[in-house]
Amino acid sequence: MSGSPPPGEPGCGGGTGAEPGEAGAGAGTGVQPGTVSAAVADAHRREWAFVLAATARVAGDLDLAEECVQDAYAAALTAWTRQGLPRNPGAWLTTTARRRAIDAKRRDAVLRAKLPLLIEPDPPASVSAPPGTGEAAERGEVIADDRLRLIFTCCHPALAREAQVALTLRLVCGLTTVEIAQAFLVSEPTMAARVTRAKKKISAARIAYRVPDPAELPDRLDAVLTVVHLLYTTGHTAPGGENLVRADLVDRAIGLARMLRTLMPDEREVAGLLALILLTDARRATRADAQGRVLLLEEQDRSQWDRAVIAEGAALVPWALRGAGRFALQAAIAALHAEAPSYAQTDWPQIVALYDALLRVWSSPVVALNRAVALAMAHGPAVGLAQIGELEADGRLGAYRYLPAAKADLLRRLGQREAAAQAYRAALALTDNAAEREFLARRLTEVTGTPS
């Protein structure tokens, strides 16, 4: 975090009097422009979801809400320079954005009445209250709830997964279409069309702006967690390009997981997801060497793992695990890895047992592949190889690069160089990430006879 926290300036955070954008010109508080732009950037990172979610409820329309929030951030630059930084930037921005939304709605009430709007299931509690009052109370409950409404709307199952991901980045994280397009290696027009189509569906099909009922919550929450996890994994190993890790996506995913954990403290899978991400991310610095080459878990310098992050993640695991959900189980596996003194001294039988439990709640061939690798560590490469053979016959992982890569590694351990080389070649044919390609090519050279 680069921006310093806003000083306790009695600018316009108070409940009465000072109105955003209306403070006397030339008050001359003398805030440095650099400080202001840093504060605005900081507020963008921290408060975007909060401001947009609260504005969307007033605007009744996601596009209008986005416009008003963008305007509010632009207005903050000049207003904060003149008036000083508000004590509570989020509340200032919310008040400003909401007021713009109310004005815009009043202005073209006739037009908007005819357009399908964002569906507000319950009568909004505080829309009629003058903006700028009761913000503290709103911050406590109502608005926290709004951020959940926003993310559940973005991740509604009626939207395709890729649309859910794009909308979450755009609306909850405040990323621009260009940034999202770059993160997913698609052209900007493609991403813009994807976002527009998804927003249109929300209004045309009347996807309600609400947190699901308790009965639907487990399924709907799983979709939200899947999107956040997908963001993390996309950042963790970029699907293409030069760098192994996309730090921006990883940070957004961690931010979202933390936000969900704060907003839904009773959900064990939310704790499980946050733990999983933290425990995996604690190893970020050691996943590649100084030249950007991939280092396997086995080769990583464990003394460089972030122990504070591991401790934070591991502390969440026991409670999360009582729900026996798929994220909690993966977090428990990650915790065993993170806390093991070395690769060889890892509790492999326990990891196999956790994968067994994971397969029961989430029967995925990818889970089965990971289990096979753990099995190989617990009972020898031949046992793991037999499992991988079954997965190959199954066919669902035909295009999954980690299957031939795992197979190649076990064959290499067994000294079957010819077969290993063949599997490394198969893995290379499926891999686009430059760092991963380099790793596979290096291993291929090792097994094809160049003496090492």
Binding site: K114, P116, I119, P121, H156, A158, A204, A205, R206, I207, A208, P212, E216
Partner: protein, 113 residues
């Protein structure tokens, strides 16, 4: 309230070979569905069953051809036009719609003006 079309897409072949017993069950299921929609706080505006696609005639431009527009195993065999509060409500209702040989597709009705 908004209007949604529930398109019932099913395997026509299954109906072609169905016994009178099966037809009886399907009719009963649809009658039950009508009651369930009301219980859910929705409303059926209209609902009809269609003759099979073998009776369809397609027109593109001014060329008239025998058969449906797209030849698929699962074809629209009937529909309900319903009123619901929002998509979640419509989906909640549509999940109850009988479609033992296929599934249903929910489409919001477009409002002009």
């Amino acid at each position: 309230m908004a209007e949604y079309m529930i398109l019932i897409c099913e395997d026509e072949g299954a109906y072609a070979t169905a016994t009178p017993d099966v037809f009886q069950q399907v009719m009963e299921a649809h009658n039950r569905f009508a009651g369930q929609v009301t219980e859910k706080g929705g409303k059926i505006v209209e609902g009809r069953a269609l003759q099979p696609t073998s009776t369809a005639t397609s027109i593109r431009g001014d060329v008239v051809t025998d058969g449906p527009f797209i030849e698929t195993k699962e074809a629209v065999g009937g529909y309900y036009l319903i009123e619901a509060r929002d998509l979640d409500h419509a989906l909640d209702i549509a999940k109850l719609c009988p479609a033992r040989f296929g599934g249903v597709e929910v489409r919001p009705i477009r409002v002009f003006g």
